[in-house]
Symmetry: C2
Subunit: 441 residues, 2 copies
Amino acid sequence: MGSPSSLKLGVQICGVGYGWGEWRHPDVPADASISLNFYRQQAQLAEAGRLDFLFIADSLHIHEKSNPHYLNRFEPLTLLSALATVTEHIGLVATASVSYTEPFNLARQLASLDHLSGGRAGWNVVTSWLSGTADNFGKAEHPPHRVRYYMAREHLSVVKGLWDSWEDDAFVRDKPSGEFFLPSKLHRLDHNGEFFRVKGPLNIARSPQGQPVIFQGGTSVEGREFAAGHADVVFLNPESLTEAQWRYQDIKGRAACLGRNLQQVQVLANIRPVVGRTASEVEQRYQHICQFITLEDALVTLGRPFNDHDFSRYPLDEPFPDVGDLGREHLQGHSEHIKQVARDEKLTLRQTAWRFALPQREFTGTPEQLADRLEHWFQQGAADGFVINPWPGGLQHFVELVIPELQRRGLFRREYSGHTLRDHLQLSTPINRYAPRRELI
Amino acid sequence: MGSPSSLKLGVQICGVGYGWGEWRHPDVPADASISLNFYRQQAQLAEAGRLDFLFIADSLHIHEKSNPHYLNRFEPLTLLSALATVTEHIGLVATASVSYTEPFNLARQLASLDHLSGGRAGWNVVTSWLSGTADNFGKAEHPPHRVRYYMAREHLSVVKGLWDSWEDDAFVRDKPSGEFFLPSKLHRLDHNGEFFRVKGPLNIARSPQGQPVIFQGGTSVEGREFAAGHADVVFLNPESLTEAQWRYQDIKGRAACLGRNLQQVQVLANIRPVVGRTASEVEQRYQHICQFITLEDALVTLGRPFNDHDFSRYPLDEPFPDVGDLGREHLQGHSEHIKQVARDEKLTLRQTAWRFALPQREFTGTPEQLADRLEHWFQQGAADGFVINPWPGGLQHFVELVIPELQRRGLFRREYSGHTLRDHLQLSTPINRYAPRRELI
Ligand SMILES: Cc1cc2nc3c(=O)[nH]c(=O)nc-3n(C[C@H](O)[C@H](O)[C@H](O)COP(=O)(O)O)c2cc1C
Ligand SMILES: Cc1cc2nc3c(=O)[nH]c(=O)nc-3n(C[C@H](O)[C@H](O)[C@H](O)COP(=O)(O)O)c2cc1C
């Protein structure tokens, strides 16, 4: 299961890339977002690096200005099911929205993925922030930020309830006697809440992990409170060690107040490293990436947390514009953060755009430098591990250069020892709510 | 692409089996419904037999008396995505309900499967007939039979509309110029109908088949009219050659009235063959299957089209009970058919139950007899092909014994010549509704 002091590491695989211009980089196939070959190759690479999981982000609303990757990509649950049969160990984490999926269908697809993969499924619970999403689902309006988190709690509790429909030993399957299952081990949820009414039971057995692993990345107060209370793995997006430390403490503190075992709440920082064998290779890679980030792209990226707001209409060299409450109802935590940084550091719009679009120097370096940085963050209470969101070609650099260095330092496994995603992340298997309590002797 | 005179052949893969007692047969693993190994092995066997497609049935509501397979099975879209990477040619057909899935999510998952599989996806459009399904989806009531078919038309038209969001050549992906797509080739659906309001566009490119293949198996008048108008492949469930002939004519006639090209409407009969090398092996297999069908199971099977009605409460040896309109709102076509057969043939309840639970003698025999029967049905205008719903071990018998005989007769392909499910079924690729019309010269 790896020593308790070892880092947790996942990777986001994101087709042609997270930024608007990355698809033009020579190290990414221009059709990567819709290429099974690309995803298979990246997944197998991540598995060769012994990573804990790969993660597929998602959204449900596009328009002409959307990121090339968002326009035309695989749906996460079908993609991960396909990858389940071409990988053996690595965890498979799908983003899915509580605002626009039926809990019954989603609980079932995630459980199905957990069965298909032998216990490697995870769910990144998101609330969807682009208000245009409502128009694809016949909803009169996108639910307000606060309501989305109420819905998230209820949705998640329904899904978890459905996952417990069958006790672990419900299926006897005894051919001679004809007993297929034990009716006493089948449970109906009978949920009747504010947003969802779901009777159950679910038509699939409890899955190999008991329940798929819950991931969450909310950054607003509501989001962090939800994550601290309900997620097994919390994603953070910190810019600096200091910010990471307070965010880490914030999540762990909230989790402790909510009575959770802190070993069972892993906090991972999302980073975009740039790695090279030598200082000059590092710098060359850094500059090469920068070539594919135009100011126009940087402005569009900046607009995304603000419900895809068009920042190109403001003067570039004046202070970051006053956009009022914009963003609060959307990607609240991140949009507030941008406003605050711009204000505190007295940035112009141009400076703000570049600031959030260019690679962070913090995770730019040689394998030793990167490993130093990851180790430092880990030991200084900034993160239990990291999610790598690679630049073009970056997963290969990370696996080939940084992983061996982390292994040498005893910070990361050399071989998988467990089978499930819970094993990799040292998360215990949740006991079925209906299981008879074992007497303590 | 196979000669125009060749049979179409698919197989339903159904875990521990379609009947209530089949799971006890020694030729089926007791956990087949939730075993990736089982599905992989059956899919690869079907592909070795050069079948056109494999088909996964589905339903969304269970209770204690449900068929063992229904209680605990994979969800079709995740299962087929997993099978996409362990097969190369065979079509992958998923059942999904128009009554309980969001058109945006379903359109996307089916398109994603079509991309993942290189153009092998199909959708069996069903309306869901068990009224208890509504309770899993927070619906006040299960929509009435007629309304379900209105919803089906609208749902399907939304899904097809979303599949055309992008013209086939919309993605240019030209790295030097930075042109990723042509905005003029992106289209918003802006659907605002009675049941669904969906703006679009879909966030995935038009798929390799243009659109996944549409399957439908409704048997009521509304169901047949819908299938004839909208399905590429129509499933029938006939009991005899005569019934098959009129059903076949009915579909083709309706399709002709609706102005469709009849080459593009394939009608397949669903059959459950029993095959053996010799007459005595056939009889032994037949009797072996019968051992696993109890009267109790037969009564439960009988109840299913009547909204899982409990027939065990009626006297067994009196005429089939008068259940009034029961079934009309559920599996209308099939329940009406059962009532009519029982009335016409003056059957008791016991006789009716056996009649619909035991293997049909029509498709029981040696490979030559089976091939004769299939050929006869095909040539007598009863079916363009068949969907095999195998008894335990039956797919292997069919592939090893019957397929070679059909190949010898030139009735079935020896090798796949096309790549997509449309190729196998000789269905043309739908032209995108927004594509500029080519001028005829
Ligand atoms: C690493 C990471 C990955 C995320 N992935 C997604 C995603 O795939 N889809 C999505 O809609 N939101 C995603 N989010 C956003 C969060 O789930 C959340 O919606 C967002 O932070 C807004 O939350 P807030 O309103 O609480 O600030 C991600 C966040 C982080 C930190
Ligand atoms: C071969 C075949 C397969 C079918 N598969 C399914 C299925 O997987 N799920 C389902 O709900 N209905 C299935 N049906 C039922 C039909 O889609 C349809 O709902 C049913 O015949 C009731 O239609 P009716 O009310 O028009 O008679 C199937 C029918 C046939 C003939």
